[in-house]
C-alpha cells in the first residue's frame, strides 16, 4: 500500500496532516479537562484552558496593603511587594473598584491627606504619608497584571481528602474498586467452563444453546432492572454489593461465553484429542490444557469486564444504594455535575480520579483489548 502513496509526496503529506488533525480533534477534549484540573478556580474562570501555558493579562482580586511603617525625615513609609509568591508584571493599577486601571505601572497616585502610593511594574509598592498611618485603614490596590502560567495539585488533594456533596471521592474510589474486582473475576470462571463445554463437548442441544447466547448478547439490560430488583428484595439481598456483583456477573456472561468459546473452538483439535486418548478426563483437559492456552482470551475479557463495571452508571444506580459507603465514582460525578456544575476545578479533578484507572488499564493492556475486540467482531 505504501507503493501507491509513495509515488506522490503531496498525498503523503495530506495523509500526515489529516491524521494529525484527527488526532488533535480526538485528544483536545480530554486535554482540556486535564489542564483545567491543574488550575486554580480563579484561573479557570478568568481564561480558557488553552491559554494556560501563555502569560495571562488579567485583573487580580483586590489586595489590601499591610505592613509596618518606617519613619525617615518626617515621612512615614510602608514598602513591600504585592505579589507574594508568584511573580507577575503589573501594567495598570488603581485604588478603587470604579477605576481599577487608573494608573500605569510606576505612576504615583495622590491619595489625599498627604498620602501617596507608588506601584512599580514588578509589584513593589511604597505608601508614603506625612503623618503616622498606624490607626488608619490602609488602601486597597487593584492590579491588572500579566501572571506567568501556574499549575497546582490542590484540586486533587481537596477532592480526594474532603467530602463534597456529602460524599468523598476517595471513598467512592474504594467503592468502585469493591464493585469492579469481584464482578470481573467471578463471571470469567463460570464462563470458561461453559465455553469449554460449548466448544469441545458433544451433546444434544448445543447449537440451540449457542444461538440462545447470541440472542442474549443483545438483550438490553434495561429490561432486567425492575424484575431483578424485585427478586433481590424478595431474597433479602436488597441494594447491596452482593446484589451488584450478581447482576454484573449475569450481564457479563453472554459476552464472556461468546468470546471464550470463539477462542477455545480455535484451539488445535489434535492437542485435545490426544489428551483424551491418553485417558485425561474433561476436567483435566480443561484445567491443564485449555485454560492455560486461552489466557489471551481470558485477559481480554477481563479487561472488557473491568472497564465496563468500573465505568457503569445504570447498574450501580439501580442495584446499589446512594449512601457514602456504596456510592460509586460515576454516580458521585453525576451528583457533582448537578450540585457543583459551575465549579470546574472540582469537576475536572473528580472526573480525572474516576477515569485514571481505566486509562492506565487501557494503555497498559491495549494489546489484549484489541485482540478481544477483533475476536468478537471479525470472522
Amino acid at each position: 500500500m505504501d507503493s501507491i502513496a509513495g509515488k506522490k509526496p503531496a498525498l503523503i503529506w495530506a495523509v500526515h496532516i489529516s491524521t494529525a488533525l484527527l488526532v488533535l480533534l480526538w485528544v483536545l477534549p480530554t486535554l482540556g479537562l486535564l489542564v483545567s484540573s491543574f488550575r486554580t478556580s480563579d484561573q479557570i474562570t478568568s481564561s480558557g484552558w488553552w491559554q494556560a501555558l501563555s502569560t495571562q493579562e488579567s485583573q487580580l482580586p483586590a489586595i489590601r496593603i499591610e505592613g509596618a511603617e518606617t519613619e525617615s525625615d518626617g515621612l512615614f513609609v510602608i514598602k513591600g511587594n504585592l505579589f507574594e509568591t508568584l511573580g507577575g508584571n503589573v501594567s495598570h493599577w488603581g485604588t478603587s473598584s470604579k477605576a481599577p486601571e487608573a494608573y500605569a505601572a510606576g505612576d504615583t497616585a495622590d491619595l489625599g491627606d498627604g498620602r501617596s502610593l507608588t506601584v512599580t511594574a514588578d509589584g513593589g509598592y511604597a505608601l508614603t504619608s506625612s503623618a503616622s498611618m498606624a490607626d488608619l485603614r490602609l488602601p486597597r490596590v487593584f492590579l491588572t497584571a500579566s501572571t506567568p502560567p501556574e499549575f497546582t495539585t490542590e484540586n486533587f488533594q481537596n477532592v480526594i481528602a474532603s467530602p463534597l456533596a456529602g460524599q468523598s471521592i476517595g471513598q467512592a474510589f474504594l467503592n468502585t474498586l469493591t464493585v469492579a474486582i469481584p464482578a470481573t473475576i467471578i463471571p470469567i470462571l463460570i464462563a470458561a467452563f461453559a465455553a469449554y463445554a460449548l466448544a469441545w463437548m458433544e451433546f444434544p442441544g448445543r447449537p440451540l444453546l449457542i444461538a440462545a447466547i447470541m440472542a442474549l448478547l443483545v438483550v438490553p439490560l434495561q429490561l432486567a432492572l425492575i424484575p431483578l430488583l424485585q427478586l433481590h428484595n424478595t431474597l433479602g439481598i436488597g441494594k447491596s454489593y452482593l446484589g451488584i456483583w450478581l447482576a454484573h456477573t449475569g450481564f457479563g456472561l453472554p459476552m464472556a461465553i461468546y468470546l471464550l468459546r470463539n477462542y477455545m473452538a480455535g484451539l488445535p483439535r489434535e492437542v485435545i484429542e490426544s489428551a483424551r486418548v491418553d485417558g485425561a478426563t474433561d476436567f483435566q483437559i480443561f484445567r491443564r490444557i485449555v485454560l492455560p492456552l486461552s489466557f489471551p482470551a481470558l485477559a481480554s475479557f477481563a479487561i472488557f469486564q473491568f472497564l465496563w463495571t468500573w465505568n457503569d452508571l445504570l447498574v450501580a444506580l439501580v442495584f446499589l444504594g446512594t449512601g457514602n459507603d456504596q456510592q460509586v465514582l460515576t454516580g458521585n460525578l453525576v451528583n457533582l455535575m448537578g450540585s457543583r456544575g459551575g465549579d470546574w476545578e472540582i469537576l475536572a479533578a473528580s472526573a480525572f480520579v474516576s477515569i485514571a484507572v481505566p486509562l492506565i488499564v487501557f494503555f497498559g493492556m491495549q494489546k489484549y483489548l484489541v485482540r478481544g475486540l477483533l475476536a468478537g467482531s471479525v470472522k
Binding site: 491524521t19 452508571l313 477515569i355
Partner: protein, 407 residues
C-alpha cells in the same frame, strides 16, 4: 476497610465455590454415580459423558436464565399490569399519548442513524489514514483512548467544551470561544455559510449517489434478488432519502439564517441541535472501536486485488472506494450493528448532560424516569419493551448468522 474485607471474602468464596463446584460435581459423577468400572462400565461411561456437559454449563445457564431471560418475560408481563392488576395494553396506550415518549422516539431514531453512521465513517477514515504512516500506531491509540473513558466522564469532558458564560466574561468553553471569533465579516461568511453549505451539498450528493447505487440492482429488469436482500436495499434507500430530506433543510438554513454573532450560545439548550451536541460525545467514544476493527479488516484485504487495480491505473480514491470498501462490507455491517446496540442503550450521556430537558430525551432515559422517578413501573416496563422491540431485528440476525456458522 470492612467492605474491602467483604470483597475479598466474596472473591475467595466465589472463586473457591466455582472451582469446588466443578471439581466435586465431576468427582461425584465419576466415582459415585457412574463409576468407570464394574459390570456396567460401558454404560456408565456413556452416561457420564452425557451428563458432564450439563455440569459444566449449569452455573452459566442458571445465571443467564435468572439474570437475562427471566427478566425479559417478567418485564413483558409487568408492562401489562398496573398496581398488580392485569390491565391489558393500557400502559402502552398511556405511553403513546405522552408527547415526551414521541420526543424520545424521534430523538432515538435520529441517534440510531447519526451515531453509527458518523462513527463508522470516522473510524474508516482513521483506519485508512493511520495504516499508511509510521506513527499510525500512536495515532490509533490516541483515537481509541475515549473508549476507556466512562460515559459520565466523557460528559464532564464535553460539558466543558459546551460551557457558556455571560457575554462580558471570558468564555472558558472551547466552542463558544471559537464562535465569538466570528463577527459577521467576510471570514464569517466563508467559514459559517459557504464552507458548511458546500459540505452539506457534498453530503447530499454522496447520499444521493449511495441511494442510487443501492437501488440500481432493484431497477435492473430480469434479475430476481433474494427477498431479504431486497428488503435490506429498500430499507437503505428509505433511510437515505429521509436523510436527504432532513439535510436539504439545513442547506437553506445555512444560507439564509440570521446568525447571532457576538452572543455566547447555550449549546445544550438549543432545541434540535442540542441532540447533535450530545451525539458527538458518543461518536467521539465509538470511533476508536470502529477504527480498530475496520483497520484489521482493511489489512485483511488481499494484496493482489489492490495490485491489479494499480496496474489498471486506478487512483488511490478509486482503490479505496471501489476495491477495499466493498471487500470489508461485512465487517462494516458488524461494526454498524454493534454501535447501534450501544446507541439504543445510551442513557448516561443524556442523564449527565441534560437529563432529557430541552427536547433531548431518549428512550433509555425516559424509561429510567418512569421507573425510578415517577415510580410508574407499568409504563416504564412498556418503554423497556419498546427498546427490546428495536433490538429484536439485530437479535434475529445474530441468531441466524450463528446458525449459519455452526453448519
Amino acid at each position: 476497610m470492612e467492605q474491602a474485607f467483604q470483597a475479598l471474602v466474596v472473591i475467595v468464596l466465589g472463586v473457591g465455590g466455582c472451582i469446588g463446584y466443578f471439581y466435586l460435581s465431576n468427582l461425584l459423577l465419576d466415582r459415585v454415580l457412574c463409576p468407570a468400572r464394574g459390570p456396567n462400565m460401558g454404560r456408565n461411561i456413556n452416561r457420564a459423558s452425557m451428563i458432564r456437559p450439563w455440569l459444566f454449563l449449569f452455573p452459566a445457564i442458571f445465571a443467564l436464565g435468572l439474570y437475562l431471560a427471566y427478566p425479559v418475560v417478567a418485564t413483558a408481563w409487568m408492562s401489562l399490569q398496573k398496581d398488580g392488576e392485569f390491565v391489558g395494553l393500557q400502559n402502552y396506550s398511556q405511553m403513546v399519548s405522552e408527547p415526551k415518549f414521541w420526543e424520545s422516539m424521534q430523538n432515538n431514531i435520529l441517534w440510531l442513524i447519526v451515531v453509527p453512521a458518523l462513527s463508522t465513517a470516522f473510524g474508516l477514515l482513521a483506519a485508512q489514514l493511520t495504516d499508511r504512516i509510521r506513527w499510525g500506531n500512536i495515532a490509533k491509540s490516541l483515537i481509541f483512548m475515549p473508549m476507556a473513558i466512562s460515559f459520565v466522564g466523557a460528559s464532564v469532558i464535553w460539558k466543558l467544551i459546551y460551557d457558556t458564560r455571560p457575554v462580558d466574561q471570558a468564555q472558558i468553553g472551547l466552542l463558544n470561544a471559537l464562535w465569538l471569533k466570528f463577527e459577521g465579516g467576510f471570514g464569517s461568511t466563508i467559514g459559517l455559510r459557504v464552507i458548511p453549505a458546500l459540505l452539506v451539498a457534498v453530503l447530499i450528493l454522496a447520499f444521493a449517489y449511495a441511494a442510487w447505487s443501492i437501488a440500481r440492482p432493484l431497477l435492473k429488469a430480469g434479475v430476481k434478488p433474494r427477498p431479504v436482500a431486497m428488503i435490506g436495499r429498500l430499507l437503505g434507500v428509505a433511510i437515505l432519502l429521509a436523510l436527504i430530506w432532513e439535510i436539504v433543510g439545513w442547506l437553506t438554513g445555512v444560507l439564509s439564517n440570521d446568525l447571532p454573532y457576538g452572543q455566547p450560545q447555550t449549546w445544550l439548550s438549543m432545541p434540535y441541535w442540542n441532540s447533535y451536541f450530545l451525539m458527538i460525545v458518543l461518536v467521539w467514544i465509538q470511533t476508536g472501536f470502529a477504527m480498530v476493527i475496520l483497520s484489521a479488516a482493511l489489512r485483511g484485504v488481499p494484496e493482489e486485488t489492490i495490485e491489479a487495480a494499480i496496474l489498471d491505473g486506478a487512483n488511490p480514491f478509486q482503490i479505496f472506494f471501489r476495491i477495499k470498501v466493498p471487500q470489508i462490507m461485512p465487517t462494516v455491517v458488524v461494526v454498524w450493528t454493534t454501535i447501534t446496540i450501544t446507541v439504543l442503550k445510551v442513557f448516561d450521556i443524556v442523564l449527565a448532560m441534560t437529563n432529557g430537558q430541552w427536547e433531548t430525551q431518549v428512550l433509555a432515559n425516559y424509561m429510567y424516569d418512569k421507573l425510578f422517578r415517577s415510580l410508574d413501573w407499568g409504563v416504564g416496563s412498556a418503554s423497556a419493551m419498546v427498546i427490546m422491540a428495536m433490538v429484536t431485528p439485530i437479535l434475529v440476525w445474530n441468531v441466524i448468522s450463528a446458525r449459519r456458522e455452526m453448519r
